[in-house]
Symmetry: D3
Subunit: 327 residues, 6 copies
Amino acid sequence: MSDYKSVSELKSIDPEMAVPFRGIYILRRKDSRTAKNGNPFLSLELGDSGGSFTANAFGDSPVFETINPAAEGCIVRLSGKTEYYNGRFSPRLQAAEVIEAAEAEADGVLGQLVEVPPEPEDELWADLQEGIAAIAHTRLRETVQRVIDETETHFRTAPAAISMHHAYRHGLLEHTVHMLRACRALLPLYPQVDGDLAIAGVILHDIGKLEEYEGDFAAKTSRSGTLQGHVVLGFRLCRKAAIQCQLNNDLTERLEHIILSHQGELEWGAAAMAATPEAVFVSMIDNLDAKMGMVQRVLRNAAEGDEFSERLAGLQTRVLLAPPDKS
Amino acid sequence: MSDYKSVSELKSIDPEMAVPFRGIYILRRKDSRTAKNGNPFLSLELGDSGGSFTANAFGDSPVFETINPAAEGCIVRLSGKTEYYNGRFSPRLQAAEVIEAAEAEADGVLGQLVEVPPEPEDELWADLQEGIAAIAHTRLRETVQRVIDETETHFRTAPAAISMHHAYRHGLLEHTVHMLRACRALLPLYPQVDGDLAIAGVILHDIGKLEEYEGDFAAKTSRSGTLQGHVVLGFRLCRKAAIQCQLNNDLTERLEHIILSHQGELEWGAAAMAATPEAVFVSMIDNLDAKMGMVQRVLRNAAEGDEFSERLAGLQTRVLLAPPDKS
Amino acid sequence: MSDYKSVSELKSIDPEMAVPFRGIYILRRKDSRTAKNGNPFLSLELGDSGGSFTANAFGDSPVFETINPAAEGCIVRLSGKTEYYNGRFSPRLQAAEVIEAAEAEADGVLGQLVEVPPEPEDELWADLQEGIAAIAHTRLRETVQRVIDETETHFRTAPAAISMHHAYRHGLLEHTVHMLRACRALLPLYPQVDGDLAIAGVILHDIGKLEEYEGDFAAKTSRSGTLQGHVVLGFRLCRKAAIQCQLNNDLTERLEHIILSHQGELEWGAAAMAATPEAVFVSMIDNLDAKMGMVQRVLRNAAEGDEFSERLAGLQTRVLLAPPDKS
Amino acid sequence: MSDYKSVSELKSIDPEMAVPFRGIYILRRKDSRTAKNGNPFLSLELGDSGGSFTANAFGDSPVFETINPAAEGCIVRLSGKTEYYNGRFSPRLQAAEVIEAAEAEADGVLGQLVEVPPEPEDELWADLQEGIAAIAHTRLRETVQRVIDETETHFRTAPAAISMHHAYRHGLLEHTVHMLRACRALLPLYPQVDGDLAIAGVILHDIGKLEEYEGDFAAKTSRSGTLQGHVVLGFRLCRKAAIQCQLNNDLTERLEHIILSHQGELEWGAAAMAATPEAVFVSMIDNLDAKMGMVQRVLRNAAEGDEFSERLAGLQTRVLLAPPDKS
Amino acid sequence: MSDYKSVSELKSIDPEMAVPFRGIYILRRKDSRTAKNGNPFLSLELGDSGGSFTANAFGDSPVFETINPAAEGCIVRLSGKTEYYNGRFSPRLQAAEVIEAAEAEADGVLGQLVEVPPEPEDELWADLQEGIAAIAHTRLRETVQRVIDETETHFRTAPAAISMHHAYRHGLLEHTVHMLRACRALLPLYPQVDGDLAIAGVILHDIGKLEEYEGDFAAKTSRSGTLQGHVVLGFRLCRKAAIQCQLNNDLTERLEHIILSHQGELEWGAAAMAATPEAVFVSMIDNLDAKMGMVQRVLRNAAEGDEFSERLAGLQTRVLLAPPDKS
Amino acid sequence: MSDYKSVSELKSIDPEMAVPFRGIYILRRKDSRTAKNGNPFLSLELGDSGGSFTANAFGDSPVFETINPAAEGCIVRLSGKTEYYNGRFSPRLQAAEVIEAAEAEADGVLGQLVEVPPEPEDELWADLQEGIAAIAHTRLRETVQRVIDETETHFRTAPAAISMHHAYRHGLLEHTVHMLRACRALLPLYPQVDGDLAIAGVILHDIGKLEEYEGDFAAKTSRSGTLQGHVVLGFRLCRKAAIQCQLNNDLTERLEHIILSHQGELEWGAAAMAATPEAVFVSMIDNLDAKMGMVQRVLRNAAEGDEFSERLAGLQTRVLLAPPDKS
């Protein structure tokens, strides 16, 4: 463990003392303000997977120079001194440096900056590639491969959903690969479903989320995410690749239909109700893995001894955490 | 008035008599069946704006030869003899001929085949063209013009909604031009709304319906209407034209957004909620003209002396038909 | 093919002729009436998987003697003469005999009396038994085995849902075994789910339907089905067996919870929201197989050449029937 | 700019300093309390369009004497010294004076006390009067004129909706006049709508809000607002004037119906669904201007450089603030 | 029993015979039509509590002379001959006479014309008067008495809800008196409820239905019923009487509030949510007696031997008809 | 009045002073934590009916020894010194003792620890017993008596619903007895309802809440409350007693049905819709008394001079508190 302090460690320091510290945090929010004396300053929110704090960077400081041009969502290495202002932790900043995710990983703090799934990214990625390879129809496989190749960097790290406090790195990749495994396990049971289309649909169903959100760590909805939504954005990515790969019209329309209908209900954002065997199948597996993913996450994060989790909005109840008594 | 009998005229003939007749009807439904003796026959539903009847065409008859290859939704000139079967009007068919809409118009029965709006198609069309000409931004205007030019034939006659019994010829054109007029009347009052975008959005908002429905007279949902829906189909038509006309990205995305959001609520099929001044504006005008169109239609079709219309599902009440007493 | 006439065959006979016939039908409805002359008669509805007709049995006839004591839902072998009354097919009955399902099967008409799934009942049953055997925990396995043993006769034939016209023989068994296969295929992917509990929950989740419906062929809701519902009825069956098999409290409560929560939403009849990994898992698989079962059924029953099925209420759309173009 | 400090200016003063200040604020809330020593004191909330703060006035102080008899919602000119208590701004009050809105206007702070629309009140009022004059039917015009004359003082300043923090002075007048303009612009397009009735209905549709809310600045629901609601209250005002002006029954009932139905849906408070051409028309224009008013407000209040507004509950999305790129 | 034939008796006559008959029926519907030969005729629907039939009255017949000026909903004494037309009972009419309800009662057929509650009207009416007398507050009692006196004739016979087939004579009186009894029985248990106001509110809560419906027997919604609804109509009747009786403002507003809020939910037509103890109390008793009234009606109308009623929309289930086994 | 300080008294002490105090509170929450120095400490939330505060108990203190083994929801007698930490009241604890409810009652603070209804528990209990005695059917009466006898201790004190801040001691008993009185007052008016069953159903309808919640004072949902819900838990208690008392099947099923259906709507947790006269009756009385209970509670707790209560979620409005003006 490095000497970098996490947010919860910072907050457990005696408020009456001014302790020097170093830490690596995500810049969640950056607002330009003007002080009473007319000088500019930045009001910042910095955080990691365990919480966040606010701090100011004044116009004549080196921290201001560094942070002013930085984008929300970047990673910052800070040094400063702990301080409370009106009873709220708000440290005095002394130096700042914008760093890459790779550096944070090298410093061993990436895992504490953002929540990550338990399976290594590379294993998930290999499974995804194997899924693509299993598509027998050449042009369909090429269509999927083209979309994935073009979005690889982003796809590997993007979250599957927005969350201000726990941006869930690799979440989209994890969810997609879990659905892929479920899809391949179930295909022999539902021979009415075309396996090639189902696999292609699973892999691309949420691809529009790569454009719906922006910022790897402090994910927020992008302009096109608001104006079009991930369903239409995914439809566009998929359609473009299908045309480039000369996929025939029938398969193109069926693949697009899986993306357009996978949300399941119009009020959840589906553009059409699932109307092919493959679209019904993918939409049901999406729902199953989304719900099971919530269960897996609360089990993973459960504090020892807790009988139940907090109430989960997505399940409309709390989850029993204790394992069954198999005696 | 020709000697062609409308459906309601046919049905008012004394059931005990077998009267020869001629008529022009839409072929609403055509099912292939096999009789007990193994011979093929067609079970047909034929109708006009006032009702429909069923009849059979047997495999060895000239009517069978004519109707068998015809598409549902075509227009048929028939001759036959009135007849009742198990208490249901089901005439004996003697001759049939598939004709074009133009012939039906020449015979003066088009208006009784399908309901048409009171304004002449050509006046509505001229107003639409004038609306396009009013778009100041060159590439935006060209984008709209291109879509309209490519779809003119269909756009002039398509209904604005599906209805088995009252396919409403020119309905889409009428609704679009009525919205266009309302839009132009309101623009001076809402200067925050960009007039070019609003006009373009109004003209193209329902363009996907040209592909969502098929058959001019006996409109039904097409394959792509079911798999994609008119919102996505319209988005595609608009996007293609915008690219061909080199419309800039900002205007393209805003125009697409109007189409994607005009349905107003996700559960009514919107892919995104209206998030630009123009999209909110067009979506509200769409709602206003849709409701006012229902009012206009029941006033137009009201029987003399009726105080109220039937209950309209779209208004959740019946409409008071009598004019106000301005004495 | 026997000389027994199906309902649709009866109705295709020339209405002007009085043709003698024999047939085997389900007695769907039986109402006692009194004729103008004061004599009693029975108004009957008889049907098979392709339709139904009504007929009267008068108080002094042998058919009256036979049918009067019979229960709705029984199978009747009839002979009579075709006849129409006020334009409606209503044959004159000459002889009737109540027979067992086994006789109908022997006569080769059971399949036309009611819709059956494509897989043989015995194969489905063997799979169910193998699923029970796969439960490692002895008392849990014994609990499931006890419930299944006690209900075998009924479980083998009961429908999974009520349908006046297409009572779906073996439907519950088919749905349960399909879920069982899906469950076992997915268990390796979700190690947080206890396999024993999940398998037991799948097998028993709908067991209350055996008491919710009555009548194998003309299924209708029973008294306890109305007053308690299948969720509570299944809970009771399961609880009783668990106590008899001395299953420990923890497993008993978890198994009961799967049954109480499998409907997914309170307004669909769930008594509690799924709150264990196994309950979430079973409830999602139930939803997946129910939707896929609708798809499989419309594909199985599709008329050749139809592009789409009728609109399915359960999917809120129609289903594309044509296979993908894999060229 | 006066030396009166706004709330946000007060809060930006260094918390460690006790700075004397003067200010004019609305008395939002006043609660009588008893201190530990048995002495009475007032707990006050004071605010302007930019925020609010709490302060105490103790029983033996001149501020207590002044504020104790004042009504919530009045305007107070204060002097005091800045102070923080447990980290919350809570100034020490030294002198207070209740003043009229006119004085606050003379002091140039009315605009910072409450949000006001961009158009001058007198121009909006003149437009309203011109609208009344445009009603051709004498008694209908007199009915509208009578209601407006009797409520003028209140109508000129009342908000169109309740908002604790941004009571929106003149909001009702602005919304009514904007609807009036839209109504008059659209009337030529919908000749089925009686212009006199539509104009009268637009002007009076929300008149009941004058009795539903109380307090110009800190608007809250009145007793009759809770017990009857603005729809019934408006109906009563309108009915009384119609009787006094001897308006005939038909027009009276149609005018009342516009008020009773303008909310559009029963669950939004409509007493009846719109069932006349005029009622449908007014209800749709109300919806259009309400939504466009939200858009106009966020554009007006947008901080420079912001791409999107906050999410608006009324539009279920955030609004794109940047103007289109018309290059 | 008279020799008048009820509808169900008419329909049980042998269709092949032309039997002369006499009967007394309600004129449910009367449409003016023109025959092929240009002559006018009336298409009539006539019915009683057990069903209805259609018949024609031709322009040159005495029946036409009698029925043409009659209002829908009147009572007609007919003579004619049974006849079937295209398989539907449609008798030939020979003579007709419009009669008063009193004559129908004298002929002993009123009870078969419309459904009536089991308690005699006069007993119900006496209970209502006793309820009014129990109101201690003089002006409140006078207000209620005035409304009831002015509407007595109508109140005694009006139905409590619309139903085409079973207009339920005295239904409003029965429901009001049942609520009155429940109210008086419960008042001692809820001393927070003012008894005078609660009794007054119960008696007047549905008074607007007297103007919402028209026609004693074939009740349909009136013009003001559609444009204002029974809640506002009742509010007006009550307000007018309260002013005439000089009831103080507080009691007037509370009485009006009970009427405005008794529907319970805005989407069921309440103008305001119940916000006084009396309004909550009356609204709950209304709901209780409405549901219990449905139960009482199905028990009253149950056929002997039926275990369950049909499914009732208002209860969302069917009702168990058999009495409990108290052995 | 003792010298024990209530929470609101503690919070009104001058924050700048460290005042010694004694008090009796409920232990609402107890979390084990580890301090920076590695020592364990407890973070506690303590409260009474007027509020709550947090405090820490460190590992080496006698308070830690006492509280560490105590259960959430117990009663604690504390002494300490007032103190503020970061502007939040967080006293220093010096001694603690877990005591029984009886001791708190002896100390005269039970009433301030938790809200209690105005009627004495023993009177309510006597009424409940009298209700049981009024059941004429021996085995039904014995069934009810058995359930009540077995749960008496808990039934006397349990709340009728969960509320973190105002656990409502005796709430279930109060609600049950109020319903019982309403039931007995209404029974003569609805003779279709079997009185024995209705009384039994009222008394047992919420009996499952005794197992759904745990902790008398800081009520929270139990494990079986989450996994089964109070409807199924009550069904089990009732069924067990019915079997032990040899109640016949018909009455058992009807009594169970009242419990299963009393919630009124499936989405509110009913397992079946009320389908017997008794179940409809009990479910309506439950709704009436629940709503009237909310009214009674806000009237009881109203501050003098308040015109309206706060908005109540259960009534969707605020309640008028002032009594009617009966002058």
